[in-house]
């Protein structure tokens, strides 16, 4: 059995086509390329928090849709993004993951062409050689990429036609980000990456469904055990974004203390709230600390996860220490939950890539309650519309209606 085989007849789970997935969406190299071109190269991609570029000249290097980028805070304090490519012959300009420009100077190591943080070419080595052809430094500049910052969150977009960031997010999400993620004068105190052997969507799904909370002892004891747990609702928004209502978590059930002091604006003591930005970002606040996850697909079966932890800039050393402790109780490479999530999605990949598992069921219906799969159906609706593909059958004609599989 190979994953490239199309689902047919009795292979299907006997569910409406919206309620299961063709597992080739995870493994098919052509789908992976379409996701790169029609999703990651089109959407506003979260790249970092502005406090990671706190000083003029601070930069980060990264890739979006496989394109190498530099995000840099200029001498005018504005954050801009450029292709991390020398316009001369295409060599990589900045090779460190992060740093600070010295004297506003970016120099290509290959032929020593120079640029500043506005992307202007400031120097061409041995310029006399270009006199005959007439090339001047102001004829060439780094290729700029659209960059917008909202509540400290820095986004880039490779596509000139995509709507502005706030339109991409929509008013509900902008409001959801305003508090607590945008109102608390936050800064990043934790950053780590994990390279996962799995498809990016499998990890993204863990941030969009509460059913897998059963996996985590932490969530079973501190979340599911709460009597109002079932009252919590997911909310679907424009463009596939999601929010998860605030709920109060019982940290004391696991001897993890209380989060009643130092709560961020808009948060209840021991409160928990989630905002998922399509397709890959989760902002998660557990009362006193914020976590931001984002994903970089590397291959169909390889994904880079970046995790950030945020607290208040105005923290005293004691407050920061407490916030870090609370962050690490659950999150980070030494937290309780991440090893479990990663193990789950890596075993999914190991099985699905062999063809041993041909479809995935997303059929729970609980009125958008915490364990409803409506969130995943919403995600795959947005996903399908962007890449022009049905998630239940990647070979089905698009956009033609496909008959329900429950009535073959």
């Amino acid at each position: 059995m190979q994953p490239e085989e199309r689902l047919s007849g009795q292979d299907r789970p006997g569910l409406p086509s919206t309620h299961y997935l063709d597992n080739r969406i995870y493994t098919d190299p052509a789908i992976f390329k379409r996701e790169r071109d029609a999703i990651f190269a089109k959407i506003w991609k979260f790249v970092c928090h502005e406090t990671e570029l706190s000083d003029r000249g601070d930069f980060r290097t990264l890739t979006v849709a496989e394109r190498p980028l530099i995000v840099v805070r200029g001498q005018d304090n504005q954050i801009r993004t450029f292709f991390n490519v020398c316009v001369h012959r295409g060599a990589r300009l900045l090779r460190e993951p992060a740093g600070t420009l010295v004297d506003d100077h970016i120099q290509c190591f290959y032929h020593l062409w120079s640029y500043n943080s506005r992307g202007q070419c400031t120097g061409i080595a041995q310029p006399k050689g270009y006199q005959a052809s007439g090339l001047q430094p102001d004829h060439v500049h780094l290729r700029e990429v659209r960059t917008e910052t909202l509540f400290g969150l820095v986004f880039v977009c490779l596509d000139e036609e995509t709507e502005p960031l706030e339109d991409f997010l929509g008013p509900d999400i902008v409001e959801s980000l305003r508090v607590p993620f945008g109102s608390a004068d936050l800064e990043v105190f934790h950053f780590h990456r994990a390279e996962m052997t799995t498809n990016w969507k499998m990890f993204s799904e863990t941030n969009q469904e509460g059913y897998h909370e059963l996996l985590h002892v932490m969530n079973r004891k501190t979340g599911l055990a709460q009597k109002n747990y079932r009252d919590r609702r997911w909310n679907s928004h424009h463009n596939g974004h999601l929010t998860f209502d605030q709920a109060v978590i019982g940290y004391q059930n696991l001897n993890l203390g209380s989060r009643e002091a130092g709560t961020l604006p808009g948060m209840l003591p021991n409160g928990h709230v989630v905002v998922d930005l399509f397709p890959d970002v989760m902002l998660n606040c557990r009362s006193t600390v914020v976590r931001i996850d984002s994903l970089t697909p590397l291959e169909p079966g390889k994904t880079m996860l970046e995790c950030r932890g945020l607290g208040r800039k105005t923290d005293t050393p004691e407050e920061r220490s407490q916030r870090i402790r609370q962050h690490n109780q659950v999150w980070g490479p030494s937290g309780r939950n991440l090893p479990e999530d990663i193990w789950a999605v890596e075993t999914q990949w190991q099985n699905i890539v062999t063809g041993a598992s041909r479809y995935s069921i997303i059929a729970r219906e609980e009125d958008w309650g915490p364990m409803d799969d409506a969130t995943l159906r919403s995600f795959y609706d947005a996903w399908g519309r962007r890449i022009g593909c049905h998630a239940h059958d990647i070979d089905a004609p698009w956009p033609a209606e496909v008959p329900s599989d429950s009535q073959p």
Partner: protein, 152 residues
């Protein structure tokens, strides 16, 4: 301090790694003073100040180990290779620095380097026994193939 004392301390540092490899978690916790603590710290180019990825006092260490049976964490065999670099005694306290490589051997017997770093330990002698008042693992490996919910 005489050579015997240096050797005792060296063995004590090696024993800390052996406890983790042998899953002798009580033995590991008992290496710490009652108010002892364990931290993992990381310097990363993306951050301007050092990060703390784990901070557990002795009770929390014990709790973390006791939670292993109910958690769904991969129980991967480890081997700590420790080289003690410096031992500085000062009365009833000491500071030590050791380089550590942690190997993981999976179910199929495949071994890979998992992480490298340095143990920067502070010790106290209590009832003629050296105990850790603070262990800081200064972790050089930042891209861990599998997260590490247990002390390394």
């Amino acid at each position: 301090m005489n050579a015997t004392e240096f050797e005792r301390m060296r063995q004590r540092i090696h024993h800390s790694g052996r406890c983790l490899d042998d899953r002798d978690y009580d033995g590991f916790v008992n290496l710490f003073t009652p108010d002892g603590a364990y931290r993992i710290e990381v310097d990363a180019p993306e951050m301007k100040s050092k990060m703390t990825w784990m901070t557990l006092d002795r009770d929390e260490l014990r709790q973390r180990f006791q939670s292993v049976p109910e958690q769904v964490w991969r129980d991967i065999e480890t081997t700590h290779l420790i080289a003690v670099d410096t031992i500085d005694f000062e009365g009833e306290t000491a500071k030590t620095s050791a380089t550590v490589s942690i190997f993981r051997t999976d179910d199929e017997g495949r071994t890979q380097v998992y992480a490298v770093g340095r143990y920067e330990d502070a010790w106290q002698r209590i009832e003629n026994k050296w105990q850790i008042s603070l262990r800081v693992l200064d972790l050089r490996t930042r891209l861990l193939p599998v997260p590490a919910p247990l002390p390394l």
